[in-house]
Amino acid sequence: MSDISAIPAAAPHSSLHRQSARTKKRNAAEKRFQVYGMMAVGFGLLALVVLLASILGNGLSSFRQTHVVLPVELSEARLDKSGERDIEAIKKVSTFGYAPLIKDALARGMEESGIAIEGLDEKDAGEIISKEAPAQIRDFVIANPDLIGTTQEFRLLANGRIDGYFKGRVSMESAALDSNVSPAQLQLAEALKEAGLLTTGFNRDFITAPDASDQRPEAAGLGVAILGSLYMMLVVLVLALPIGVAASIYLEEFAPKNRWTDLIEVNISNLAAVPSIVFGILGLAIFINFAGLPQSAPIVGGLVLTLMTLPTIIIATRASLKSVPPSIRDAALGVGASKMQAVFHHVLPLAAPGILTGTIIGLAQALGETAPLLLIGMVAFVKEFPGAPPEGFFDPASALPVQIYNWTQRADPAFVERASGAIIVLLVFLVVMNTIAVILRRRFERRW
């Protein structure tokens, strides 16, 4: 009897078919957490969709442009009075000399198509064509002086407001209140479209043309900005990749672990968090004021962005060097490889995908950076393309993010469209770069 009483009482019988209070509470907590998580993801996705919709809605139209197609008589009397086809003499005729040609051509075009708009004089009718158009023709004539005296068909840029009318930005009502455009001009544009003299098509000039002044948003393009950004990325790649990788290899594989290297390590991590505008001030002080490099030049922008990108590359490279298993180093050292051989023959190839990914992400970051470039003068209005490298690195240029910033500052609403279009171009570049990073990582990743 006494033996039995020593055995502890069995736990009360509990059914597995009924959840205990504790289990219920636990399950509820888990479900709540999942809902929070889904809400966070949903919110993020929503923000992304709104952002993309707004940018694409505003910006996609900048890839289409309205042109007036007119045969223009390149009258010898106006363009080359001497008739000697002397290129210097032809160049002396400014764009003011070309404007009457366009006015005549438009008047003739209207006459031939039988278009007559009440209350619209010849001067107002001429305004539906961009102020950039005379320059278009002048460039053509200077390139082909032999064609003076003939009649050529030109696709002339339409005025920004007319362009906006066909993209839904300008309406008859808004034109009535607008001092820059009248309903009569819009009616003319409508009539020209019916006559087939006015077309809306793909806007290649948006990608290739340089920036244009405040009054002619229809002519503004990203050519200089894209080239400037490209030059800067070249400078960053050529400087930041070798310096960053060399520094990381030294710190990770060779440097003794002591107080100095710890200090350097902490500072590199801190540098990655320094606001980019500080790098801009540094660039202004050192590269421009002290070293005397030219302002607005891609070389200076590239140097500043290199300083900014270096910590990112060093951190990514060190992380990928660290992730190579030590057994590979042991194996190489064990067969008598020197430390450098072990690193360059075995460790570095294994770390390469990580290094490349880090570099491309660093470049993408640099590509979108605006603040430091403002300080080194890249915000200037640049209409001339920089020359071919290496001299071109020292010519003034713009950059994509700065061009966006620049356009958002301008008054004409047509620039809102242009800025959004530029954002789309920048996003496309970033997406392409990140895709390349992912592909490289997938392709070269090796298992061990």
Partner: protein, 264 residues
């Protein structure tokens, strides 16, 4: 086996490695305490002992792999063929070509089988032509008893082999540089019994050309493959002698406790 062993033991008289009063410190930890030992040529010497007793540390002193650890400090002398390997004139890289090493976990390079074996000869300039290199690779793979299994896929990645094959590939890689001493740090601990048997057979073969030093956790393995055994305990070399004597008639009570399974 025993008879065979005694015949052999008469031949192995020449000392290959001499350690005198070796002390190793890892920072504040005294890992090896005053170890002196003489390791013979063309012999398999086994280091046994419980985990953390310093046997691997001592092994890594013989090819100066401990140099790669910043906080590690080695004192005392280790001589190979009478030359102090910790002398300032000695380049560890040259030493490691002479003293090959096989690690606990098979660690082939993520390259082809051929390149794995050819790497050592390439960096040491042992082959003057492609044909010569091919010959070295084949000879090494044959020595490591893996040639027949891989001869048709030399360009396949070394990491695609099974664990036992990988370890034999690592042995081939180690012998390709024509070392004189072969250090093995628990070479079978990651292998299944069949692969272990193959590697052990191979070790017995290698003894004809090299002085083999093997660290092992398995006392059976030590008894099977080695002619001499050293027992380490808490950083001390407790006992060193003929394997048969250590396992049948240990002099020290700690050795006896260990081999009978009371400590470790």
């Amino acid at each position: 086996m025993k008879d065979h062993f005694t015949v052999e033991s008469e031949i192995m008289t020449e000392t290959k490695i001499t350690a005198r009063n070796v002390q190793v410190h890892y920072g504040d930890t005294h890992a090896i305490k005053d170890v002196s030992v003489e390791i013979a040529d063309r012999t398999v010497t086994a280091f046994i002992g419980p985990s953390g007793c310093g046997k691997s540390t001592f092994l890594r002193c013989i090819n100066r792999m401990n140099d790669t650890i910043d906080i590690c400090r080695v004192e005392g002398d280790i001589l190979i063929d009478g030359e102090d390997i910790y002398d300032r004139k000695v380049d560890p890289v040259q030493l490691r070509a002479k003293v090959g090493m096989v690690f606990q976990k098979p660690n082939p390079f993520p390259k082809s089988i051929y390149d794995n074996v050819a790497y050592g000869p390439r960096i040491h300039g042992l082959a003057r032509s492609k044909a010569e290199l091919d010959e070295i690779v084949e000879k090494s793979l044959r020595r490591a008893a893996i040639w027949n299994e891989v001869k048709d896929r030399l360009s396949a990645p070394g990491t695609g082999l099974s664990g036992g094959q990988q370890q034999r590939l690592c042995i081939a890689r180690a012998v390709a540089t024509e070392p004189e001493v072969l250090l093995m740090d628990e070479p079978c601990s990651a292998l299944d019994p069949i692969a272990t048997a193959q590697v052990e057979e191979l070790i017995d073969d290698l003894r004809r050309q090299f002085s083999v030093v093997i660290v092992t956790h398995s006392m059976q393995q030590a008894a099977r493959v080695s002619q001499r055994t050293a027992f380490f305990h808490l950083g001390n070399l407790v006992e060193f002698g003929e394997t048969s004597q250590i396992f049948t008639n240990p002099q020290d009570s700690r050795t006896e406790s260990y081999i009978t399974g009371r400590i470790g």
